[in-house]
Amino acid sequence: MKVGLFIPCYVNQLYPQVAIATLELLEKLNVDVYYPSTQTCCGQPLGNSGYEDDSKGACQLFVENFKEYDYIVGPSGSCIYHVKKHFDILEQTPDVIKVRNNAYELCEFITKILGKTDLGAKFPHKVGLHKSCHGLRGLHLGSCSERMDPHFSTEENLLNAVEGLELMSLNRKDECCGFGGTFSVFEEAISVKMGKDRIQDHIDSDVEVITGADHSCLMHLEGLINRQKKPLKVMHIAEILNKSI
């Protein structure tokens, strides 16, 4: 099984530690993982802003970079969702179909394809899980509070297996953080208010570390936390799962 590691553009540039944790984690799990060095972005920032047509070049490049792999794995639910959902703008060649079908968010890949939940990690902290919308409602990484389905959560399963980790219960289980890509800039007031409210929920729930499977949401929350000097740390779930102190 050959796995292509997809590192979202902003993670590559701004959060290399998240990319490193993802790579190390996959290596620890004995995955034959490759990082195609000419990858850029999935095109989501353009598509969500209405410029889907201008993103075709980026989407096509994505397919070129990853078409030879059995699986494409990335530490971001929303980018993976974009590949699966919105690459319908490309001509549906066998390569495009293959890439769309085999793109996986990291947590889902670990639990569903590798069939593992206990990764031997240790992290003795009170953790709050931010369930990012595209992972949750788009990729169905877990049950959503709106739907009357039996409860499950891919990320919770992984975090509950981490030694010492205490997963805190939030008042609003899966409300959006307000990032929303360019929404965060063009609807700045609401975006910030939504983020502040999410953070308060974590603080009210005694959380020490906010985590999630999508670093774009976490970037937004971290920006607010740092500005307001709130007593919270932000870590991608890959960083926690890769901890083995």
Partner: protein, 454 residues
Amino acid sequence: MAHAEKATEFNKDEAKVNWHDKALWYVREKRDKSAHGVIGWEHLRDVASGIKANVLSNLDNYLIEFEKNAQNNGIKVHWASDAKEHNEIVSKILADNNAKKVVKSKSMLTEECHLNPHLEAQGIEVVDTDLGEYIVQIAKETPSHIVLPAIHKTKEEVDELFQEHLGTEPSGGNPEYLTNEARKHLRNKFLNADAAITGVNFAIAETGGIVVCTNEGNADMGSHLANVHIASMGIEKIIPKEKNLGVFLRLLARSATGQPITTYSSHFNKPAKGKEMHIVIVDNGRTEQLSREDFRASLHCIRCGACMNTCPIYRRSGGHSYDATIPGPIGSILSPGKDLTKHSSLPFASTLCGSCSNVCPVKINIHEQLYKWRQVIVKDVKQPVVKKSILKVAGGVLANRKLYNFSGRMARFMLKYAPRFIVYSKLNAWGKARDLPEVKGQNFDQWYKVKRKK
């Protein structure tokens, strides 16, 4: 004004935003609890969505069937292609009956057609009798929510409004007292009304009858007391059979307010002896929306308002920020179909979180339609030059690894070394309330080149 500007205005009073958010979240949670009590809720949504899809695919036949059956029952049926025609038809019916005083029970369609100002200009008194609608009417505002029209008003604000308009005593916002005073006032209006106008929740093709759901019984009060009952409905309100109500009534009340059923589900099948009943069937842009494949399913809507209660943006920006008859997520996919330029900011007033689509009792893919409208809008409506150029350039950069490398380096360099007052200038909306990420020594590409050689 675009949604973002109005939302910014609304957010100047954070305490009120918190209150508005909590009030609507309370309704959302009530909905969750009540839906959990129904075994097969998700199946019920599937069925409802299927019935609506069937209706939209056979709308012409169902409408003709409905008209025939309604006429057989003695109801007069009128067809209006737009708001203007609707208002003229209503005026004519009122004039024919020499009706000067009208009581209305809640109808978003008459809001959509701006019926009140039309009738008032002709010297007709129109009173909205739903308590929430009555509040916004005397405040000279529009409903901010389709089920809870005055949800943007605190009880203290209503107190002041009633003191001014009904001469009530200051009560510190006592809901019981205020409701009683409104009831007394409205009772008089009901007793003296010449005609009653209602909306329609469901029009049953098989029987030619209509169903109106209210919690206050005001549709019944109005239509039973007045000599003329006019019911206005959009063409999409049709359901094929009476038994389909078993699906929709269960979904509607639970989705809207978390009640197992609305207090009154009133069935109107024919005029009472010596009275008249009219139904005005209105298109007003609906067939055009029906013709748009990507947006057709927006016509499934049964106006429960659940998408508003769950929407984290709606809860924090208020219904008026949408500047449309139907606010919130569903309004943001319906309104662009009516006036793309005016409503072009609405599909962007969303993070595409998808919660709306999940609560929708008739399974409208609201967030997917928001995404699709965005694609239409950047092509058909003039866009801000800066936004457009940035995104167009980004498209080129992301398709080219060398340009991407260069841009990544530049961005990281700027973030690391540019002075704070430049990075956090007015042009940087991100940085107003948020810090930018701290730039590490290397990006992942550089790290990988050194640490892994494959």
